[in-house]
């Protein structure tokens, strides 16, 4: 087999056939604006997922930190499930599986299912980061706040959460970046987003390498831009409370 391949390769080289065709840059440049047209949908799904996940994660984190009876066990089960199973499985479960059980969900579309899946999946991770950040705020500051007569709510709002936010922000930015990349799974639910559109274009032109390279570059650039923002933010956050 190896022998045969080598022979063919050698034959092709000798006969002047190309063994690798040159990248079709013109095709890629033509593809760029088409694909960029789908970027907003990708960012919208990630943005909506991020906002919803943040809200849910904060609730979960507070339930966990306060050890609310009953709710705490539920939160732990939720977090364990959504961290313990692949996102793709969760998306299929929501999009294909759940409507069979909860029939009113038949109307759920791929975009909604993706946002729902991203929200639940990432909220589980983010809840743990937020919880760790809250717990990480020096316990003696909590006591100091209580000692002057502050309520639990005032203590959380004015002392703990501002400090926890600062600690958790870089990690949460990482999850946002992961979430942007994870939106590409929406194409398995039939959503024509960035990845789905690329797949269609590639199937039409047969230039799979060019098409997928192009979409990879788009994701890459978006992520790099966010990473740059993240580094600047981190620098500023590290400087806080130091003077």
């Amino acid at each position: 087999m190896l022998h045969a391949t080598a022979e063919t390769l050698l034959g092709r080289v000798l006969s002047g056939d190309p063994i690798m065709h040159v990248l079709d840059l013109d095709y890629m440049l033509g593809l760029l604006p088409i694909l960029l047209g789908y970027l907003p949908l990708t960012l919208e799904m990630a943005g909506a997922g991020m906002v919803a996940a943040l809200v849910l994660a904060c609730l979960l984190a507070v339930v966990r930190v306060q050890r609310m009876p009953g709710l705490n066990a539920l939160a732990m089960l939720f977090i364990s499930f959504f961290r313990g199973t692949p996102l793709l499985v969760q998306l299929f479960l929501f999009y294909y599986g759940l409507p069979q059980i909860l029939t009113f969900l038949v109307a759920i579309n791929g975009i909604t299912a993706t946002i729902l899946g991203l929200t639940l999946h990432f909220s589980a991770y983010m809840a743990e980061s937020i919880r760790a950040a809250i717990v990480g705020v020096d316990r003696s500051q909590t006591e100091a706040a209580l000692s002057i007569g502050m309520t639990q709510g005032q203590l959380m709002r004015r002392i703990v959460l501002p400090q926890a936010t600062r600690v958790a922000t870089p990690t949460l930015m990482n999850y946002f970046i992961d979430m942007i990349k994870a939106t590409s799974l929406a194409f398995t639910l039939g959503v024509t987003e960035l990845m789905g559109a690329t797949q269609k274009e590639a199937a039409g032109s047969f230039l799979y390498f060019e098409a997928f390279l192009m979409v990879a570059v788009i994701y890459w650039v978006v992520v790099e831009l966010l990473s740059w923002l993240q580094r600047r933010l981190e620098k500023r956050l590290n400087r806080a409370y130091q003077r």
Partner: protein, 249 residues
Amino acid sequence: MIALNGITKRFGAHTVFENIDLTLEQGEIIVVIGPSGTGKSTLLRCINYLETPDAGRLTVGNLSLDAKHATRREILALRRRTAFVFQNYALFANKTALDNICEGMIVVDGLSKAEAHARGREILERIGLADKANAYPASLSGGQQQRVGIGRAMAAKAEVILFDEPTSALDPEWVDEVLALMKHLALERQTMIVVSHEMQFAREVADRVVFMDEGRIIEQGPPDELFTNPQDERTQRFLRKVLANNPIV
């Protein structure tokens, strides 16, 4: 008047102290001494309700409550009448020196920001840190941080300030400035309970020294008497040890 009657505290099966009685007149300054692990911190924390006592009554001014069954409102009221100075300062890391002092006035007492800042600056003046109003705790020395911690307690206008070993975490170079501030408060007859082994300070400032051992108040009296003529053998032994390391000049 501050009164503890029959205060008991347990951690699980371990009884830290049982039936503690202690009374202070307004303006009185007492220093509590005793071996470590005896329950001095726990006692102070019970007065501020950072620990929930298992039995007894707490009285601070016109507020008197059943310590075990205090309601949320009673607890908040008790905390407003008492202030705590922590061994490790426990300043709010996200607030400047001024805001650390003003936080309680704004959030708990409901003062306007302007009023609070005006009072906060007066307090900064008194603790000798007027130039550090906008500095965050991370950039202050240990001594400066503890002075802000005391400033925060002063701002609470509490009937009693509870000091839990306020100088024992400090590098020696910063101890004197903190003790000087506490002496200053004592001269103004701020009621205070100080857990500390600064014997010189106790000698100069305390109206009464209380010796605790194994969860009991063994002996108490004016510093001159207690230091020179301790009655109980445990007090004598403890004083010999402490005075050897921390002599009174």
